[in-house]
Amino acid sequence: MIVEKELSTKYLTVSMGPQHPATHGVLRLVLELDGETVVKCTPDIGYLHRGMEKLGENKTYPVDMTLTSRLDYCSAVANEIGFCIAAEKLLGVEVPERAKFIRTMTSEMVRIASHIIWIAAHAIDIGAMTVFLYSMRDREMILDLFEMLCGARLLHIYPRIGGVRCDVDQKFLDQLWDFTEKFPKLIEEYETLIDQNRIWWQRTKNIGIVSAEDAIALGLTGPTLRGSGVPYDIRKVAPYDAYDKVEFDVPLGKNCDVYDRYRCRMEEFRQSNRIIRQCIEKLPGGLVLNPDAPGLDMMPGPLKKAAPAPAPAADGTAAPAPKVEAGPAFTEIYSATEVPKGELGYYMVSDGTGRPYRMRVRTPSFVHISALQRLCVGVLVADVIALIGTIDIVLGECDR
């Protein structure tokens, strides 16, 4: 008699990362594979944990800003602007109009730069190597522009509580204008290579479908959410800076798949380009920094409200600031901005001193990676790569 025995099989556990070419830094995914199909995916983070929230509580506001640019190092200036907006709301500082436009302009520039990183990484993960180099060529132009603007290419530290650090000059604006003229043609180059390509379609269409309800429940934001057709863009629903003064569309996806998210971001390139052009056209005159804003040399002790730190009285021009009592014991603010990767929220609590009492950063990548364990079930290993690409993560932001 033949006894039929079931062949004993077991899942193959693969530790993808933290050193892996496609995990964008130090993300580790513990995949359980049944053949090539993922049965379970457990993301493991914390390899880049720098204790940013703890550090932020121990440093003054201007110094905290230098920490925030290390969150998402691909779009440093957007993080800094988010921080400054939160701090301005908390400390009650007004921003001059010109600074608002410059901030809008720079955060759209950095959106382009960040999306370029995304398309480069996404394409090279799926195997289209050339898109990487074409897009890096164009990112170089943005970085040069940033270098002209604030002297740094990657970690700009450009905005300032109460405005921006320095004014833009005409040469910069001309060069930026030239860039916006050129850029739409350059996007078409990437699209020629992948947009209609059948292999790209096969790799991205109907992969990683997240319905609108699921996406909201998971907390996805930014283009990742808009790819599912949810028109949630903080630039529209709660405009900050000069976003209520410029026109732009919010591209939405229909099929909720990787391809639609790709299309959303490609469309955002064009919208960002449009916003930059409007900002240059509408740029008002005036100062770029509120003279009453707290200066860099903010003291960690109790704040004298609405008074800049007195300058060293070498000349006597600085009028002695009127002493105002510190506000209520604890004031708090949740301020969200739309950074390239999604919603960047700062929950800050002030106790009336020069240091935030609590600085919480809600970063899009953190939430997106937490969604990965639910997205990556039942897909193939190759799709895991496409999914990591489509949610556009930066681990510096995730681990903080």
């Binding site: 703890k54 909201i216 996805l220 949810v230 629903v237 708090e332 949740y334 929220g345 929950y347 919480r360």
Partner: protein, 181 residues
């Protein structure tokens, strides 16, 4: 409906739970609630047809050691898409009962943010499916974002084992180091 009105609606429904409603800087409305019925409150905010706070922006903890009583707060920042309003819900968690209900059944995405809150403050979320440390190593001692946790300290022998390993490996491998000029 603005956040202020939403907070009033919440107060009407949960009279005994809502401790305080504060408004700051036009638009930042915080509602301080007791922790016991947090899941019901969140369910109400999520489901009530006039509120529809469908989007959970963030969950985080806060430690007011020596400044406020009770010591801890779990802060929920939620957003209502139809009303375009942010609302901050703060649930008070006393030090001697460090636990609160998880809201994972309302928002799946609360998963990691609750884990992080546990990791950083040691607040336990009852009902969470997988409450482990997230950012810190599994065998880490202490909860870093508590105010009594020092920013910098020389622990000597009580240093975390992983760090001691790194140091020892470095010392062991120092003989192979190629010295520069």
């Amino acid at each position: 409906m603005g956040p202020k009105e939403a907070a009033e609606v919440l107060r009407k429904s949960f009279e005994s739970e809502v401790r305080e409603i504060s408004e700051f800087n036009a638009g930042q409305v915080s509602v301080t609630v007791a922790k016991e019925k947090i899941r019901e409150i969140m369910r109400f905010l999520h489901d009530a047809p006039e509120l529809q706070f469908h989007f959970l922006s963030d969950i985080c903890g806060a430690d007011y050691m020596g400044k406020k009583e009770p010591r801890y707060e779990v802060v929920y920042n939620i957003f209502s898409m139809p009303n375009k309003a942010y609302l901050t819900i703060k649930a008070q968690v006393p030090e001697d009962d460090l636990a609160i209900d998880s809201v994972m059944d309302i928002w799946v995405g609360a998963d990691w943010r609750e884990r992080e809150c546990y990791d950083m403050y040691g607040i336990k979320f009852s009902g969470h499916s997988d409450l482990r440390r997230l950012l810190m190593p599994d065998d880490w001692d202490g909860f870093p974002l508590r105010k009594d946790y020092p920013l910098q300290a020389d622990l000597g022998d009580r240093e975390w084992k992983g760090y001691i390993d790194v140091i020892e490996t470095y010392k062991r491998n120092k003989v192979y180091e190629v010295h520069s000029r």
